[in-house]
Point group: none
Chain length 218, copies 2
C-alpha cells in the first residue's frame, strides 16, 4: 500500500531525476514538495524501506524500478484525468492541475483502463506531455535545445541543461521561465547568438545560453 503522500514524493523524485540524474538532493525535493528538509529525510527513509527508492545518507535519492513503476502509474492517471477534464468537462488547461492532483490518487485498475478507453487512448495530455500506456511506456517529450531552433520557429520553454545558480539567475533576470513562449527571430552566424522574442520584447542571447535551454517546438 502506497499512501497519497508517498505517491506524491515518488512523482516528485521521478520528475526531478531528469534534472538531477546523479541523485535528487534532500533540499531539491523539499522545495519541490513545499516542505522541510527534515520531513523529506523522514519520508525518504520510509520509501527506502519499501524499496521504492535507493537512498544513502547524505547522497541524495534515486528512484528504484519498483518506485518508478508506481510513479509512472500516477503520472498516467494524472494526465488521463487532465484529458477528461479538458475534453469532457470544459476545464481550461489552467484549471485542471489542482483537480488532477487529487484524481491521480484514486485506486482502481479498472477505472484507469476504462477511462483510457473512454477517452480514445489519448497519447498526450492537454499540455502536450505524453501519457504512459498500460505498461508504463511512453516516449519522452521531444525537447530540443534553443540553439537548434531555426529562425521563424517558436518554442515553449520546458527545461534547462545547466542548472547552476548563475544560469538560473540569468534566466530569472531576463524573465525566461518554464512555460514561456519564445520565438527565434534571427541567428547571427558569426557567434551563433540569437535574437528572440519573449512576451513581445526582443532579446539578444548568446549561444552559451541557447545551448542550455530546452524548448518544445510548436
Amino acid at each position: 500500500m502506497i499512501s497519497f503522500s508517498e505517491e506524491n514524493y515518488l512523482k516528485a523524485i521521478f520528475h526531478l531525476q531528469r534534472k538531477f540524474p546523479a541523485g535528487v538532493s534532500t533540499n531539491a525535493l523539499a522545495e519541490e514538495m513545499s516542505t522541510k528538509a527534515s520531513s523529506v529525510t523522514d519520508m525518504v527513509k520510509k520509501l527506502s524501506e519499501k524499496d521504492l527508492v535507493n537512498y544513502k545518507k547524505y547522497q541524495g535519492v534515486k528512484i528504484s524500478k519498483k518506485g518508478e513503476k508506481a510513479a509512472v502509474e500516477v503520472v498516467r492517471k494524472h494526465r488521463l484525468w487532465e484529458v477528461f477534464l479538458v475534453e469532457k468537462l470544459n476545464f481550461s488547461w489552467a484549471e485542471v492541475h489542482d483537480v488532477a492532483e487529487q484524481l491521480e490518487h484514486i485506486q482502481s485498475e479498472k477505472l484507469v483502463l476504462e477511462l483510457d478507453k473512454f477517452l480514445g487512448f489519448p497519447r498526450k495530455d492537454p499540455h502536450g506531455d505524453p501519457i504512459p500506456d498500460t505498461h508504463g511506456n511512453f516516449q519522452p517529450l521531444e525537447k530540443v535545445l534553443l540553439a537548434e531552433v531555426e529562425p521563424g520557429q517558436q518554442g515553449l520553454c520546458v527545461g534547462v541543461r545547466d542548472s547552476s545558480r548563475e544560469f538560473l539567475e540569468y534566466l530569472d533576470k531576463n524573465k525566461i521561465a518554464l512555460g514561456k513562449e519564445i520565438e527565434v527571430l534571427e541567428r547571427e552566424e558569426f557567434d551563433q547568438s540569437l535574437l528572440i522574442k519573449l512576451e513581445g520584447e526582443e532579446l539578444h542571447i548568446s549561444n552559451t545560453i541557447a545551448n542550455n535551454l530546452f524548448v518544445k517546438t510548436i
Copy 2:
C-alpha cells in the same frame, strides 16, 4: 476544511438518522464505520466542535444543518460518480461502490457542476437512489420492499437497501437489475420466500433477498 474521515462520518450519521431519528448511538455509528466506539466518541467530539453535529454525552448524535449540507454534498458527488462509472465506463452495479467511495471526496465545485451537466443532470443513481441537486434538494423515491408486494402484483426494480458487494453480486448473477420488471407469483408462508417472474423466467428468492430489494409497484 472537512477531512475525508469527517466526511465519511457525516455521511454515515446522515444515513443512520433515517433509522434513528432520535439520535444515532455511538455503537450504531461504530458498526457502520467498521471502527470502535471509542474512536467514534473522539470523532463525534471533533465534529461537534465544528458545529457539524449536535452531541451530548451518552445521548447519541444528530446532524446539524451545516453537517447535513456537507453530507448531502458528499452523497450528491457519490451518486453522480456512480452514474458516470456505470454509464460511461462500463462498470457493473456491483463494482461502482468502492470507487465512488473514493471519488466522492474530490474537492472542486466546478468538477461537480460539470460532471452533472456532462451526465445530463441525472435524477437517480444506478441503484435507484435520488441524486440531490446543486441546492441539496432531492425527492425521496416512492419505493417499497419486494417482500411487501402481494402475489399477483408487479413491480419495477428501483433500488437496493443493502448495497454490499455480496448482495449486488448476487443480483448480477441472477440478472436482477435496475429497471427490470418483476412479478410476484407466490409467497411461501412457511419461510416467506417468493416465487417471482423475471424476463419470462421463474425464480425463487428468499425473504432475505426480498427484504433488501426495492421496487415501484405498477
